[in-house]
Amino acid sequence: MTDRTLRGKTAIVGVGETRYYKRAAAPDPEFKMVLEAVLLACEDAGIDVKDVDGFASYSNDRNDPPRLSAALGCKELKFSNMFWGGGGGGGSGAVSNAAAAVATGLADTVVVFRGLAQGQFGRFGQGSTANVAAGPGAFTAPYGLMSPAQTFAMRAMRFMWEHNIGQEALRALSLTSYAHAQRNPRAVMHGRPLSAEDYDNSRWIVEPFHLFDCCMENDGAAAVIVTSAERARDLKQKPAYILGASQGSDYRQAATAHNSPDYPTSNFKTVARNLYAQAGIGPKDVDVLQSYENFTGGVLMSMVEHGFCKPDEVNDFFTPENFYFEGGKLPLNTSGGNLAECYMHGLELITEAVKQIRGTSFCQVPNVNISMVTSGPMVQPVSNSIYSSEPNP
């Protein structure tokens, strides 16, 4: 094996999360919530926050590392990093950047974080109300195609048509997230169970997405700490070793006006291949999966492109039973995810993946050795990561 790999060289050793709120319900400024999440992650890890020497985030997070480092009184800043690209495509990408910085000695203790306070800033689900659309938006916005749901429904519709996939496959993903959230007292949708009838009767947002196929919009902050595998062994928590973390985009996926050559895709074909090659495992080895649900149609394509089933097996494989944490063939989105725990842009999926390695999830899968995250299907770029209970399983 080449030495040019991240495999097993770093680990997530701390996780911190504020309370998760409904959109616009956070009592604190976004920056303060990020500080709180970083401090909680350090406390969880048993690391002095003054020793944090790097920060990595994504999706144009507003809370920049120089300000964070100064506010927290960190001794020095060695790594100040932003993963380009919107949506949650950079969740695992920020982890991979942090891991690369640690593995190459650029920094020793790097925080990956995301903060969102949508009441204090803009919303995701609304189109712009500007009276002109320039650039690529000129080819979509005048036709009323303005929201992420609409952008991605077009891809999902084509995929479902090509493979004759029924609405029940999407419904299974929604029911799974809601079922798991009922066991997770931190989940925004805790105490709000969802039945198949509720799903079927819910309004359309844009076909093929019902209301419950779409992620929430929430407030809060989350952070994880990445450090070296050697140091991880001596810290407070059981390390979640980073077996692989990959990022990128397939050929011309960002071509404008819906012109990516491969269209009905989650954009994971190359990135999934690269992740498995790096981690030295395959989909059959994965004990539990957190798959980013901006919209259920993206999860569907993402899981297919990560090799969990073939397109023509989706109708049979995608059932709530197969995805349930107890007895499921592939326990999925075990915290409730973006649909029902919190839309923390998928950083909450990474904290959940780490909890599954530690054995502390509210929907704990027994004996987890390999815990995987896919971040942000259908955007450009996307990313993914695999965590392990051992550095070299």
């Binding site: 689900g125 609304q126 189109g127 712009s128 109300t129 500007a130 009276n131 002109v132 659309a133 320039a134 650039g135 690529p136 938006g137 000129a138 080819f139 979509t140 916005a141 005048p142 036709y143 009323g144 195609l145 303005m146 929201s147 749901a149 609409q150 429904a153 077009m154 891809r155 519709m157 084509r158 048509w161 309004r203 359309w204 947002i205 844009v206 076909e207 093929p208 011309r252 071509a255 404008t256 006006a257 819906h258 012109n259 269209y263 009905p264």
Partner: protein, 151 residues
């Protein structure tokens, strides 16, 4: 024969198309005003390209031009929107947005609305033709490219 209409499918108030500051789509929007469909093409290797870019994605030449193509296509994907993503849309729900493939232009795709009953059954692969939707009263005036199933 070219289809044109002065009746807008979606209500007034949505963003009007503006050519980018890079000037990439000027020929396209000038063409729609004349009820013609023009697509970017590489002069060197003949590759069709949409949306427009600064260089050819195939041979990387900057020598790009626009060519007029027949205003027809096939439905590649579609969606029926039920949520008002813009205040102007709240009384015009649902509406149909389609992705049209242009086989005569290297299978590039264009987004538009599918005219007619918003509850019509939409079939991927159906032949469609363009309907040029004039917004003559806008400042500056512009024309959108809409689509209708071929009868």
């Amino acid at each position: 024969m070219t289809n044109a209409t002065k009746e807008a499918y979606l209500p007034a108030g949505l963003p009007a198309p503006a050519p980018s500051s890079e000037g990439l789509a000027t020929e396209f929007w000038d063409g729609t005003r004349k009820h013609e469909l023009w697509v970017q093409r590489c002069t060197k290797c003949q590759t069709w390209q949409w949306g427009p870019e600064c260089c050819c994605h195939n041979c990387n030449s900057f020598d790009l031009t626009y060519e007029q193509v027949a205003p027809t296509g096939k439905i590649f994907s579609w969606e029926r929107a039920w949520y008002p993503v813009h205040p102007a849309l709240k009384d015009k729900l649902p509406y149909l947005t389609v992705l049209i493939e242009l086989p005569q232009a290297g299978n590039v795709r264009m987004v538009g609305n599918l005219l007619g009953d918003p509850m019509q059954q939409v079939n991927i692969g159906s032949d469609v033709e363009a309907v040029f939707e004039d917004h003559d009263d806008a400042n500056p005036p512009y024309t959108l490219v809409q689509w209708i199933v071929k009868s």
